[in-house]
Symmetry: D2
Subunit: 361 residues, 4 copies
């Protein structure tokens, strides 16, 4: 269970990395929206392995097929079935792991829960599952752009010790983000990040990072008070992405060190007609509800668990083994995680948009 | 909408701070569990205003009445209705705010969403709503202790710039946490924290902080892969608490700076019979599912938005006003937030426990 | 679990018949709707025991208190807490049943599921639980009337062998329905029904019946295709009422005997401007979605299970016992079920109304 | 929305009759269950068009492909993706309907809700959508048989005026049901039913019917009190099947005519060790919870809306038109509806089984 997210805009994903296919069903997308395969494919291509020397050299075309929900490139209001066939399903790379749960991976916990682990590759716990999220997210994004004027842009803001300067107020575009292979629009930081990743790769190791995301154009009134606060829904969506260990909105953890007088966002009239805030430490959300300012949040990714370096760890019977990765793994996942963060933001906001239609005055 | 949380162990809360009552309905608690009003009252008393000089001087007894679901102090398996009458409902303290949305509070967003704001005091956005969560959480906790052997302890680990030393592995008890009015078991840090809070109070200001929580005894296999990962559910629960801006599990944001070889938790045989991990950077969750290690997470709270100091902010028509708080507000919310974090952890884990019954092999 | 119904307009009920109170939380009611205690009380009074010689002589005032969600008699958009204190909680009437599960009641199944039965009176399985539904339904109805122009009227259309003539197209009002104690607007049939009920009462027996309901003013477009068809949601709501054994919409079971050429509803232009149907065998729903015609359905109630006549039935250990009812029970439940059917219809339609806001083009 | 059913065993379907494919995702099936494509195909073949002279002559192979969730023919506990490619997607048969909403079909209501109708053939409102339900139902059934010992058998018990004798206590098998093309195990009635259907077919008309279903082996304790009563869930599932107008459980509508003394099911010790009931007017459910007796219910289907006979009905602008069906339609849907009813019963019971694991003592 739990392969669905959302209450009104509901995304269900399925598929193991080494089975016949992965895919998603997007239920709740309103009718009459122009949607083409190419729009979805574009985001899938940003997530795809093999894009650069910074990511896994595995090759998988990730071609999406739209199975339902469209007629003449317009949505019907019915569920949109999305299918991505697996191509690179050989299990050989993982044979070494038989009997030894990979450290900080999901082998052990799946075995404890299900009494079985999908052969090699992690099954649903594989990062490959996120391709289905990206495909579904592209549908959500199309709805948000078409009907609500929302624009979502994420980028890499930290890799290891390297942090980019704050660009949350810069109105960045995706092409600026994609201008380098790290997907960090701060060019100086990007260069150091690339070095950091390549050094980890050379060492047979991996390194973590942070993705920052800005959603602009979100109108005031989205998000539900109490348990479905917009920040809570976004947090849940981000924390459901494999390898994510932390989430913060607006000022985030830095708020803990601040005083109210420096943290509070004063209201001001903007462009002479809309009440907004002079600063945005709230990250666009107050009392769980969007206030019309950009929604800004940051997502912390741990270093990829599967590494080439030898690790001393116990097998299922408790015997210590030396485990060496042989697969083609990502030395740092954040460059490929950028479209995944955007997808989960889009899915969450699309749901909030539909909920707001229903629950507002 | 959104006043319910959970799929199988479902908590619904209701009530405005200045209406007749607040309360909760706890649906899904298994039958046959010993439950008394006193157990619930104990946690409510830890959240209650007026406990010390560090928190608001408002007085509210917060006496809970159990309306249903019990017979002879045993749960029936039916919904448990919990009622807390409001006593201190005079709205005078808030009269000054009429027409001016309080900065970084929920007045503006509620007005945008609902076209109305509950008179004075924020209605559902009031911190008072969390009393209902604490009452419901005490029920969840009783189930978890009685049937699953889970123990939850939270404490204040940071206030402003003051950070306590890491005590996540110390097996802390609630009485150790409650040994000082800050609820920080690191006594030296606690002293400095109290100073920090009192200085903010003297200045008519407020200050933020961090609450750390450890849930021990959680068996392997709780949490659902993909969208309902245990960390995602805990994150959503915590981010739904008023004033929370960030959540991290295990290594959290520090993971972004680490390499895989230093971050991975090696498996080892524990006590000669259970596979566990030598370190716990995973925070007790791998692939979204608990691994048998303690579940450890941290929650960042912003400084209380309502302060006594004057603030220059716009009224609803955009005219700048000087706003001065007159109410009795908390200069720092984290000492009282400790039982709220524990309650939301308990509610989330109780739901995960019931889900695991249903979804495991 | 399962004490909540609805996806966007969510009603949660709680309370045992012999505990301190019963009640409901109505979550999702839009803001700004005029609501008073008297509106709710009016429907509760129609469900209340002791109204006439045809129903149980038990006396219970069923006074409702609104705990939250209102200010100045207007909804705030926040959850509306409703409380009804139990007054008549003596368990004596039921003492005879100890150890013997009452035939066709819920004692046995609750014991099998929960390992316990709420002392005397059936706990949640008691018809008393429906008072909370009626209170919540009155809120739903107020929203539907105020915002959507929907009007719901139910009546008794059969008792035992006595059937009223078809009055679904008569535009009946509640006062016409309430013009006699059976709540059957066909006066001749009502007289025979009253006789039937009184004969059963005299015999220490009970008798079943049918409630018909018409919801007019439902606009086209409510209900979701596939699994949440409007007829399916209404059916689930009605079949969740204690003692209900059957549900049919429009032509219902009689459709099975018909040919397509006699069953199909031809489209015609109505009042020169709205497409409607010449007949209404569809019962106002086509393909699961309302078509603008009145929504018409019928609900079959079994005879009250608890009777005064002696019954030979096994106790929990399998020993045959002679069971004689001593309580004050309803010889026929349908006169009091009328407001319950209306309430469940209102709750279902309010949810469909909010869903339609979210899911329509 | 609404293309998912179930809380723990969740089935999501997608696909238009004239698009590339239809399919389902089954989420929540426990791990370790033996499942093969052939098991699913067997039920699909029973629903397939073109099986006999009594049903539509359309031909569609309906080959299912399992996309995920299995390894070595065992379930993994992860979602099971099911795909059925459409083959017969020519829209020509429906061209005549352009501009004229078909009477008692879903064209008009979809247009009102979505502002668009899937070209020809009804899109999601097509009976073809039920193939995905049948595929998903076969998975549910496999789980129920393997883990719970539940056996589900449905058959045609009425066509037009012809009613089969009551065979609910006969322990029927599917091969007995399939022994004739009507799927009515009462051979005499079956002959008359076939005649009735062929006469309707000859007249270019259609006829309705009833499907009866018995689920044996359901243990006591499934179903949730109050809103998710087992009868309510089954009713919602059945009423979500296209063309269904009524549902009754156990005694159903006949209960309305009975007295309590004749309706009540007395408890008796069965086989010397299990408490059961001497009669089964409850239909296996008491207080919403299964009591260990067979679950018995009946489902009324209206005559197929699309007929060859000319119909006088208005087009979207209100102008009367003569509509003549040209497609190959089912003169009576119930023979093909039998596996659909079984599938929806299986999906509902599988969900109840998982819920019972979570909610029981």
């Amino acid at each position: 269970m739990s392969n669905s997210i959302g209450k009104m805009f509901v995304v269900t994903t399925f598929g193991e990395s080494h089975g016949p296919a992965i895919g998603a069903v997007v239920d709740g997308c309103p009718s009459g929206i122009r949607l083409e395969t190419a729009i979805i494919q574009r985001q899938l291509d940003r997530r795809r392995p093999g894009q650069s020397r910074l990511v896994t050299s595995r090759r998988e075309a990730d071609r999406v097929e739209i199975l339902s929900g469209l007629e003449n490139d317009r949505t019907l209001g019915t569920p949109i079935g999305l299918l991505i066939r697996n191509e690179n399903t050989k299990g050989g790379d993982y044979a070494a792991f038989a009997g030894v749960p990979r450290p900080s991976h999901a082998d052990f916990t799946y075995m404890m829960k299900y009494g079985v682990v999908a052969s090699s590759g992690g099954g649903r716990a594989s990062g490959r599952e996120t391709a289905a999220r990206v495909a579904a997210g592209a549908v959500a994004e199309t709805f948000l752009a078409d009907r609500c004027g929302v624009r979502i842009v994420a980028w890499v803001s930290a890799v290891g010790e390297i942090e980019a300067r704050d660009m949350t107020a810069s109105g960045l575009t995706r092409s600026e983000v994609d201008s380098n292979e790290v997907r960090c629009p701060d060019k100086n930081a990007a260069r150091d990040m690339a070095d950091t990743i390549l050094r980890a790769k050379t060492d047979g190791d991996s390194v973590g990072g942070i993705v920052t995301c800005v959603c602009s154009g979100v109108p005031a009134g989205w998000g539900e008070p109490v348990f479905d606060k917009l920040g809570a829904s976004l947090g849940a969506a981000m924390l459901s992405i494999p390898a994510v260990k932390g989430f913060e909105i607006g000022s985030g953890f830095s708020a803990a060190r601040m005083r109210g007088s420096e943290h509070n966002d004063m209201f001001v009239m903007k462009k002479g007609k809309v009440l907004g805030t002079a600063t945005n430490r709230s990250g666009g959300v107050q009392g769980g509800i969007s206030n019309g300012e950009p929604v800004v949040f940051r997502v912390a990714f741990k270093p990829t668990a599967t590494i080439v370096m030898a690790q001393e760890t116990a097998d299922y019977r408790g015997k210590m083994k030396k485990l060496e990765g042989k697969g083609r793994h990502d030395p740092c996942i954040v460059p490929r995680a950028v479209p995944v963060v955007e997808a989960m933001a889009a899915i969450t906001l699309a749901d909030a948009a539909l909920m707001a239609r229903a629950t507002s005055r």
